[in-house]
């Protein structure tokens, strides 16, 4: 006849399946890394935006400097009594400016109808300026405009005669690639820096969490040990009464655990007694 005595009484508790995860320390590390990541990404975006704006301000002032210089030469010519169309000296001025800033793609002087009067590219003199109608200077146009679109960055300066009458404009154009290269170089170096910061921060956080004592983790570990003990006791033929919890090894959920432990002791004790009684009756019979 089979025996109801708990054959698994001496079987060890199952392997720590379900406990292989990172635990409380891992959770805190994940929280720290998440915060680090979010903060770093936001700072990268903010820094990129600040760099971009500063870069555009610098480019604008650089182009403005060139345009102002050309406009000053035109004004000098007008004061000397030479009309704009006949200021041939401007070609040399434009060439000189281009030499000083070789990254510029073009410097143009247009009349008020948009026809190119002078340009660093002599082949386009007499052509219509390659500008959208909205950009063309007119009576209501601002004295200076700046536009960055896909392929080029342009700055225009409205020219007026000695009596305020519109004469045309000076346009300085820079290929957008020049700025894009700067931006890309900055973005790459910043991204690498950010990756290094996140990696170093995560490593530091992991080190600190590994070294610092975490009472919460110890209490959870205590809870697991108590449940381990209860698992063993549930398999014993003659369960021993529960020992008082060790104050040196506190467990989480102490009240719930104590009530559960009392219930379990009562049920397992009763079951053990009944098992013994049935076995005795079986042997007697």
């Amino acid at each position: 006849m089979s025996d109801a005595s708990p054959s698994s009484a001496t079987r060890p508790a199952p392997a720590a399946a379900g406990g292989g995860g990172p635990g409380l320390r891992g959770l805190l590390l994940a929280i720290a890394v998440a915060g680090l990541l979010v903060g770093t990404v936001a700072a990268v975006l903010g820094s990129l935006a600040a760099f971009e704006r500063t870069l555009m301000t610098t480019v604008q002032s650089r182009l403005s400097e060139v345009a102002t210089e050309v406009a000053r030469n035109i004004e000098n010519g007008l004061q000397a009594g030479v009309v704009l169309e006949q200021q041939r000296r401007l070609l040399a001025v434009l060439a000189d400016e281009r030499t000083q800033a070789p990254d510029l793609s073009a410097i143009r002087v247009n009349d008020e109808r948009g026809r190119i009067l002078f340009s660093t590219n002599e082949a386009e003199i007499g052509e219509a300026a390659p500008l959208a109608a909205a950009e063309m200077p007119n009576g209501d146009a601002p004295a200076q405009w700046f536009r960055a679109d896909g392929a080029r960055i342009s700055l225009g300066l409205r020219l007026t005669g000695l009596f305020g009458e519109p004469l045309g404009s000076v346009t300085v154009t820079l290929p957008a690639d020049t700025v894009d290269d700067q931006r890309a170089r900055y973005a790459i170096s910043l991204a690498l820096g950010a990756v290094a910061i996140v990696a170093a921060g995560a490593l530091l956080a992991a080190l600190l969490l590994a070294l610092l004592p975490l009472p919460g983790a110890a209490r959870l570990e205590g809870l697991r040990r108590r449940l381990d003990t209860l698992y063993e006791r549930a398999g014993l033929a003659r369960p021993q009464p529960s020992a008082a919890p060790d104050p040196a090894q506190p467990a989480a959920l102490p009240d719930s655990l104590a009530r559960f432990e009392a219930w379990l002791d009562r049920r397992v004790g009763s079951l053990g007694e009944r098992e013994a009684e049935v076995r005795r009756l079986d042997e007697t019979a």
Binding site: A34, A217, L227
Partner: protein
């Protein structure tokens, strides 16, 4: 004695940890970024200073060539003052004679200028510039000097200076525009921390407490097991609890089977009745046999967290964009689409389908998000609103199916946080330049997707799992750790 409500120290510490990490990471990145920007701009600024010095030299050499002594050129005060006034990158312009005595200047005052010009490196730089112009760094100023020549003789120098500090101030000034993005990042970090702590610690611990209490109150006929386990110590404890209840059930089962075997085997009716009585009153199991093991599905409140927050974020971002563009009329179809999505998710569509639809709509909308409300096709906004409605509806449907009760304050807080996130994201996008605004939105979407992931898994996998673990079926202790 009434117990005083305890401060939720754990979540508070988790939020503080995330905020501290976000601030430290952000500060370190800004520090590195500004350093890199300064080094990248310094070459550009030096070139600019040199270019300006060449212009001044050209003008002055024209005057000197006409025989006007350098110290007596008229209008120099205005000329020199205008240069730094018109170009904020230029800190000062100065003209000295061959002995480095200051003649004309503009920009900073004499008290600061004279010690800089007296530095021997400046004179050396000016003399060497004839061969190879190079900026000299003195007290934070980068000074480009060029010699003024008359008949091949040096009659003076032009000095133009830029300053890295000014560049840093400009970077800081421009970075202030990113304040909404910083606030958004801090809000997201806090929200992520609270969510992770709640989903990974508070809720599983509360679940284990409920299981222990339920077992202690039970009559022994039915036990409830944990349906999914966290990792680490808590997961191990839950696994042990399941294993313990399973062992108890198996032992009761074996005892009942043994008692039945003995009852059938004995010939004396009195002994058989005694054995039957012992088995019947065993306090473990019921008339049907050993204790029943029910595996709980364990749907939890934090499952609602991501979709609700993301839906609120999307809707408030749309609202903010329309308000910034002044297009009030466009809000009507958006509101209608959101309501439609909500209704569809709650009433009509299967959960998985609404989520799949939301993901597709979200991806399409994000790709087109860089368009402004004025030029974006209405389908984008309607799609986004529909997606937000579907998300909110799917979350509420999930809550209803699984009996999750969320307090009004909890729900209001989730919607408030989501709304604030959307508002800040929209304002950030408005303030920042195009590629960056797109990246900012990607950040929001990424964080949202990260939050959404566990909920999606739960929503998609919930139904078959529940059927498999329907009441009455015997769970295997510790069989499934989620």
């Amino acid at each position: 004695m009434a117990t005083r409500p305890r401060l939720p120290l754990g979540p508070l510490l988790a939020v503080l940890l995330a905020l501290g990490a976000a601030l430290l990471g952000g500060a370190a990145t800004v520090f590195v970024g500004f350093g890199q920007a300064e080094s990248q701009f310094s070459a550009v600024l030096d070139e600019k200073a040199l270019s300006r010095a060449q212009r001044v030299r050209r003008d002055l050499e024209l005057a000197v060539g006409l025989g006007i002594p350098l110290a007596e050129i008229r209008g120099m005060w205005d000329y020199m003052e205008q240069i730094p006034a018109n170009d904020p990158d230029i800190r000062f312009v100065a003209v000295t004679d061959a002995a480095m005595q200051r003649l004309h200047y503009g920009g900073i005052g004499r008290e600061r200028l004279d010690p800089l010009l007296a530095d021997p490196r400046v004179a050396r730089g000016g003399r060497a510039a004839g061969i190879e112009p190079e900026a000299v760094s003195v007290d934070g100023f980068s000074i480009s000097s060029l010699p003024l020549l008359q008949d091949g003789e040096i009659v003076g120098f032009v000095h133009v200076a830029v300053q890295g500090k000014q560049l840093r101030e400009r970077l800081v000034r421009h970075a202030r525009g990113s304040l909404p993005l910083v606030l958004l990042a801090l809000l997201l970090a806090a929200e992520l921390a609270a969510f992770l702590y709640s989903a990974g610690h508070s809720e599983p611990l509360a679940r284990l407490r409920r299981l222990l209490e339920a077992a202690a109150r039970s009559d022994g006929s039915r036990f409830e097991l944990s349906g999914r386990h966290a990792g680490g110590e808590l997961g191990a404890a839950m696994f042990r609890f399941n294993a313990l209840m399973h062992r108890l059930s198996q032992r009761a089962d074996r005892f009942l089977a043994y008692a039945e075997e003995v009852r059938r085997a004995v010939f004396e009716a009195g002994v058989a009745a005694q054995v039957e009585s012992l088995a019947r009153d065993s306090e473990l199991g019921s008339a049907a046999g050993a204790p029943r093991l029910d595996r709980r599905l364990d749907a939890r409140r934090s499952d609602l967290w991501p979709p609700l927050s993301l839906a609120a974020a999307l809707l408030s971002a749309i609202l903010c964009w329309f308000l910034l563009a002044g297009e009030w009329a466009g809000l009507l179809p958006v509101a209608a689409a959101a309501a439609l999505g909500l209704a569809a998710a709650r009433l009509l569509l299967p959960t998985g389908l609404s989520l799949a639809g939301t993901a597709v709509l979200g991806a399409v909308a994000l790709l087109l998000f860089r368009l402004s409300p004025a030029t974006a096709p209405p389908a984008v906004w309607i799609g986004l609103a529909l997606g937000a409605g579907l998300l909110g509806g799917a979350a509420l449907r999930y809550a209803r199916r699984h009996g999750i009760r969320s307090g009004g304050a909890w729900l209001a807080l989730r919607l408030l946080v989501g709304g604030a996130s959307g508002l800040l994201a929209a304002v950030s996008a408005e303030r920042l330049i195009e590629p960056v605004s797109l990246a900012g939105l990607a950040l929001l979407a990424g964080a949202g997707a990260m939050l959404l992931r566990p909920a999606v898994r739960r929503l998609v996998l919930a139904a078959p799992e529940r059927e498999a673990a329907a009441p009455g079926s015997r769970g295997t202790a510790g069989g499934g750790s989620a």
